[in-house]
Symmetry: C2
Subunit: 253 residues, 2 copies
């Protein structure tokens, strides 16, 4: 199977690395807006859209920002097979002429240069027709052991949950680390706690794993903390505390 | 060294398990309010305070709720060595008659029955005098490779950071999992993302690891998400999003 890649961001970077390890997949070209890319040695790179041989590949994978997907689909010929990698863009709300159009969404946070084991990454597949969906599933199976069919509505909801699990969790870690930095405390002290937090949430479930002043409704500590949060937005502390209290309000503590 | 334990909660449970594996430490007794405890076979258990032999142990370790520490110190004789395990209670703000009083704080989230590798857990030590601090450090070193001296003010700030890293992160995971449950989506799909989130924050630092709609200032996705958050408090989404936007407002995105 031959694949053309549109985009040179984090998702493109990781998918290309993955495809390169698969003997059944050949990346025919990569298109990106920036000229002079040399990250993918041995793969032809184009920064001029007219030069890419869209019809000579079995699949064009569009790994661009959500806002640019519609534009790319419009630019591509009618008779290509095309899929995009977004978690949020709804296949049914796009306008495209291609008969074979689909979604090839890897549910993971990617950063260039940071290795990720693709075989554990869920790939969520959707397509305009069953044959093409099977083709995309087959391609995803070359990279991952977790390939699933999911429609745009479900994928959107999954993406919201992913924003909480990754983006928002990471930001709380940032606030926590900033607080330590402001008080000249070694940030590495929290690493075992962070690792255990995740292990515990997975093993016990996050509902049972909850602990801390809000879980115990320890108002004295909560109020003391709110007075000490110089730098950290107090509203975040208060809102999450309130949300925890509400979650367990019907439980014996 | 002989130790008496006051308290039968999560911290007591894990410290007792830890001490039991150390040949140099003998737990002489455990005191708890509930009668009929049989969790620690071979260790005398008392639920009547008058019966415990406070003077026959080298150290009494007070593993009770923050609110009860003052009360326990008042009940104990003047000539005992005593330490408590709280992250927040300030040693200088307590009233006690004991010459040797200190803090023996393991920075970790503990739940009975959920194994934790104590040797990686930071133990933070503080005491009324240097000799006793050294004694507590020596005891902690029997359990952990990370034993540090830290005063009450620093420990309090560290505890606030720990609330964000553990309590609040766990609650976001709960909100995320609830959202999936509400939409009949398999919660296990997010596990690789969660594991990678932590790895990435540790490896790249949380500032560099940040991704997502707020990081990209992708207002279209943010607004769409806010409309879809049935069940999850919208204010939490909005506040953390605003906080991420503010964090990176001076950066090129």
């Amino acid at each position: 199977m031959t694949v053309g890649i549109i985009g040179t961001g984090n998702v493109a970077w990781h998918l290309i690395r993955g495809f390169q390890t698969s003997p059944d997949i050949q990346i025919s070209w990569v298109f990106g807006r920036k000229s002079g890319m040399d990250s993918f040695e041995g793969i032809p790179y184009y920064s001029s859209f007219e030069k890419i041989e869209t019809q000579l590949v079995d699949l064009i994978l569009v790994c661009v920002n959500d806002d640019s997907i519609q534009k790319v689909l419009t630019l591509l010929p009618k008779d290509v097979n095309v899929a995009y990698t977004s978690g949020t863009v709804d296949l049914k709300k796009l306008n495209f002429q291609q008969a074979n159009c689909g979604v090839f969404y890897p549910l993971q946070t990617f950063t260039k240069g940071k290795h990720v084991e693709l075989k554990n990454v869920p790939f969520l597949i959707e397509a305009t027709n069953e044959d093409f969906a099977l083709k995309l599933e087959n391609l995803a199976s070359q990279l991952s052991q977790k390939v699933l069919r999911m429609n745009s509505e479900q994928r959107k909801q999954l993406h919201i949950a992913a924003v909480f699990t990754n983006n928002f969790v990471n930001h709380l870690l940032y606030l926590s680390q900033s607080h330590l930095e402001n008080h000249q405390i070694d940030q590495q002290l929290l690493q075992p706690l962070l690792e255990e937090t995740v292990k515990k949430a997975i093993e016990l479930g996050s509902y049972n794993a909850q602990s801390g002043p809000a879980r115990r409704n320890d108002q004295q500590t909560i109020q003391m903390h709110e007075q000490e949060l110089n730098g950290i937005p107090k509203e975040i502390y208060s809102l999450i505390t309130t949300s925890i209290l509400k979650t367990y309000s019907n439980d014996d503590v």
